[in-house]
Amino acid sequence: MSEPTDTILQVENLKVHFPVTQGIVIKKEVGRVRAVDGVSFTLKRGETLGLVGESGCGKSTTGLAILRMLPVTEGRILFEDEDIAPMEGRQLRAMRRRMQMVYQDPYGSLNPRMTVDDIVSEPLEVHGLGGTKAERREKVSALLELVGLRRDMGSRYPHEFSGGQRQRIGIARALAVEPALVICDEPVSALDVSIQAQVVNLFEELQERLGLSYLFIAHDLAVVRQISDRIAVMYLGRIVEIATRDALYREPLHPYTQALLGAIPIPDPEIEKARDFQPIVGEVPSAMRPPEGCRFHPRCPHAMAKCKVELPPLVEMADGRAVACHLHPG
């Protein structure tokens, strides 16, 4: 893996709130969904940061907000040292060429009426790149080859491809404009087990060849462990723990990280027998009315009186690790 040298993305206190309104003529705000509520992290060039958590934790919203596909309520998004949160219009479009997205659904994210050639070359046209039509065709063929498809597949339509191949097309489209950062939102979770590995390996190979940085959003902690250098765990709109891969999996500190890791079975019946697994209780509460204090306290097996009233801050610890838990005050 390439040595991370500098910071490509720095997110500071990012908040994305969605107003909940009532009334048809006179709309009144009656509440707010705090989908992302104060998230900060950095991503180094050539690095993969895994962003994990259960549905509703705000991981996808974070990804979309960084691409400015959702309005940012508060906070700074420094991409290559420039704050992109207030950008508009042409400035924003130019910036988007540098960061691209790969989506979860390989069926819904490709236009069924467009050929693969058109799908992959569309971003080139949008950004005025790729020169003549012939040059664009040549570029598309090279991209298809890069993602492990045949050069001559460009004239086909998405329905002629399997799920894994469609995800490769989505990756080719993202790479067409030569981005520095790729935000991958659950890119393998819709794929079959034997195909997942092909696509995970492709992401790793492309990173080595092109020096890409990935923000890899996923709920599967085993996949995230495979691909990430560092991992941030989210719960109800906040990061509860962030650490290097080895530190996080060897010694998870936050009780939620521990619960998540415990919930994932290891494919070995002998190990599973020895683990004697006990599931944690409850489900993720609504982001409209998050619990007071630590948001995880109603489900936490170690909850103390303090946890019910005081929100624990994300405290920096040794070797770049940070935890938001009163059990680990630093």
Binding site: E54, H219, P265
Partner: protein
Amino acid sequence: MSDVPLLSIDGLTTHFRTERGVVRAVDGVSFDVRSGETVAVVGESGSGKSVTALSVLRLIADPPGRIVSGEVRFDGVDLVTLSDPEMRAVRGNRIAMIFQEPMSSLNPALTIGMQVAEPLNRHRGMGWPEARRHAVELLRKVQIPDPEKRLDSYPHQFSGGMRQRVMIAMALACGPRLLIADEPTTALDVTVQSQILSLLKALTRETGAALILITHDLGVVARYADRVNVMYAGRIVESGPAGAIYARPRHPYTRGLMASIPRLDGDVGRRLVPIPGQPPDLAALPAGCPFAPRCVNVMDRCRVERPPLAPVDPTHSKACWSDV
């Protein structure tokens, strides 16, 4: 666990007639399930695992589907030969099914209480007031808080995990001898998945019912199953006790699956070893072994002759010509 199997599937073959030809979704599947046992059917999409389950319950829409041949003996009776009314008396009563989608498997227009009480009213001839009292107990058993109050709620007022608990309560209502769970937790979050599966396992242990667990997740199989059937292209390619299959997988497909999945305890920095190629088109299966085009141990014989499921030891079988 008794010696006489509760369920014995023998040569089950289910075809679908489509525009592109006959799709051999289930192609000669045989396995047994004993009381008190959890048997996993594991495979990828299109492997035929769900159609196997639906065939056992005779829930295949005809047309386009049809059970072409084979027997499904449950408690000594071949379910394939039962009339529709006879089959309805079995379904939801002695065999119950839990589906993947807790959102779409519940009727959105009926209260939870009605839906949990319905099988009791239908199969046990209980009056509604009595069935309702039973429903409270069932909801308590699946750990739904305030069951008396929740009885009059509608499905949309429940979270995904709670809806799946309701599905389990419905399935358990008549005290079935066999539960079939088709990807019961795939739509749920990780921490809720483990709650539901652990609950399902505990309840079947308590009642002595057998459980067929249909899943694509090899981790789930390792944690909960006693015996495992690995399916590929409508056939069982390997079958045996969970411990033996994980310790020494004998079929190249099973080995390929195990090498291709990332594990929480795997070596870091090592590339995954994917299975090359794509799953086959079930309407145009190759001659011989359907896995041959993707197999690393393929021999000439594999391309012409289909390997039967044959024992490698008294409890463990594989459908493969290779001795590797």
